[in-house]
């Protein structure tokens, strides 16, 4: 278990604590204490949460993409900075442009300049962009790999949604997975739906000298696609099986 303190900047106070409290709980954390006030940059919510370290990255992603969050900073509770006022409020993440997953003590940053340069290339090459991703994957240090590929996947997924899937009704997650996630992935890989799980038969990421589930890009892509389809509501994509861990196919499930 880990205690993490978040300093969240938002535009409005109404419903902020309720909404983010639900988000924290939905991600398996509990709210230890919270304080809400006003700062130069808007409404500031400071909250300490406790939960499994393995899910911290996921919680940060959801906070970063939450519609009410303009920016946030996070650090381990034991490393909490001096009282505000002495601190320069440099946002770590923008609500509409997620990532850098960052906690003090174990800093993981994404090279955003590089990512922003890469994204237009991916858009131009779509759907044949895996060479670019492989090159990036190869060059990234181990700690950066997951957050970077996840972030790129989210951006690509949100882009594909706006481009090809935005017209039509807002669908419940299970239907969105089948009617949006499935056809979107078919442009990239061999994929089939078995129940409410998508199975990718030929993900290009496994067997590259690493262990464990490794299709972070597809996790991000489905998250971006389905998150956009849910009107920005948080969607958690779990890679429940991966060929890199010996499975026959890489399986993805959607949880809301």
């Amino acid at each position: 278990m880990v205690d993490v303190e978040f300093r969240i900047v938002a535009d409005r106070r109404e419903g902020l604590l309720l909404s983010l409290g639900q988000l924290v709980i939905a991600n398996g954390f509990s709210l230890v204490r919270q304080r809400i006030g006003s700062g130069a940059d808007g409404v500031v919510l400071t909250m300490t949460v406790r939960g499994p370290e393995a899910r911290l990255l996921q919680l940060e992603e959801h906070l970063g993409t939450h519609a009410m969050v303009a920016s946030f900073e996070a650090w381990r509770a034991e490393d909490a900075p001096a009282p505000k006022g002495s601190r320069d409020p440099e946002p770590t993440r923008q609500a509409d442009a997620p990532p850098p997953a960052r906690t003090a003590g174990s800093p993981v940053t994404i090279d955003l300049d590089r990512v922003e340069r890469l994204l237009p290339q991916l858009a131009r090459s779509y759907p044949n962009f895996f060479l670019f991703l492989h090159a990036l994957d190869h060059e990234l240090v181990a700690e950066q790999r997951e957050p970077t590929l996840l972030y790129i996947g989210q951006r690509v997924g949100a882009w594909i949604y706006k481009r090809d899937f935005a017209l039509g009704a807002r669908l419940p997650p299970a239907q969105a997975l089948r009617h949006i996630g499935l056809p979107a992935l078919r442009q990239l890989v061999q994929v089939e739906a078995r129940g409410e799980v998508l199975h990718i038969a030929n993900s290009p990421f496994p067997h590259r000298g690493r262990s464990g589930a490794c299709c972070h890009f597809f996790r991000g892509l489905l998250g971006g696609l389905l998150g956009a389809a849910q009107g920005g509501d948080p969607v958690v994509i779990v890679e429940s099986r991966c060929r890199n861990a010996g499975a026959e196919s890489c399986a993805f499930e959607c949880h809301v």
Partner: protein, 248 residues
Amino acid sequence: MPHDHFIQCDHDPLLMCLSYLVSVLGSFTALQLAIAIPQASTGRQRWAAIASAAAAMGGGAIWAMLFIAMLACRMDLLVSYDVGITALSAGIGIASCMLGLAVAGTGVFHWTKLAIAGTCMGLGVTGMHYTGMAAMRMAAHTQYDVSLVVASALIAVVASTVALWLAFNLRGVWQMLGSALVMGVAVCGMHYTGMRAATFAHDANAWVAGGLSGTNLGMGIFAVTTMLLAVVLSTSLLRHRQRAQVQI
């Protein structure tokens, strides 16, 4: 009643095919406009999208198809159409489509919503057909086989529901073409079943004076079809441009 008392309606196969094509074109236009309803960011945009989609569906897919099909019906009888009732039939179609599309395009998809929207649309098609039939002015009166009338309404409701499901739920080719083809089946299936339900019997006392002639109707249909084509073209160009401008 002697057999020669009844009037035979022979359908021109070419005009029947044309009526299906026009209903598909109208449905395609309407559903392309309709699937943008959930994207509307203001109430005004939303109602504009609903109204334009309903006008394309009611005025294009259903109304134009109905009157092409009526022209396809060859009877040895002079037929004209009452202007007021013809306009009323268009109004019924447009209003019921507005209601159906407003329900289908609101919030998160749900089967109940789909059933309500499909019923509104189907009954709109049916109401428009039978009101349009009532607009006929000829030296004959019309009798209906009730079971076939019910069957025609069921066809319209079921096929409209399927078409709305395809349009709002799916993405890609099935969303675009499948929904329009099925909606065309809803409109034409309903109409031609409705025509089977109708029996025309000579009636020298029936009112035949005035009304829109077949030629006038043809001009109206031409105008509606041309407008539908223009809307389809401009919508697809606009969507193509918007798609190209989406930033990653």
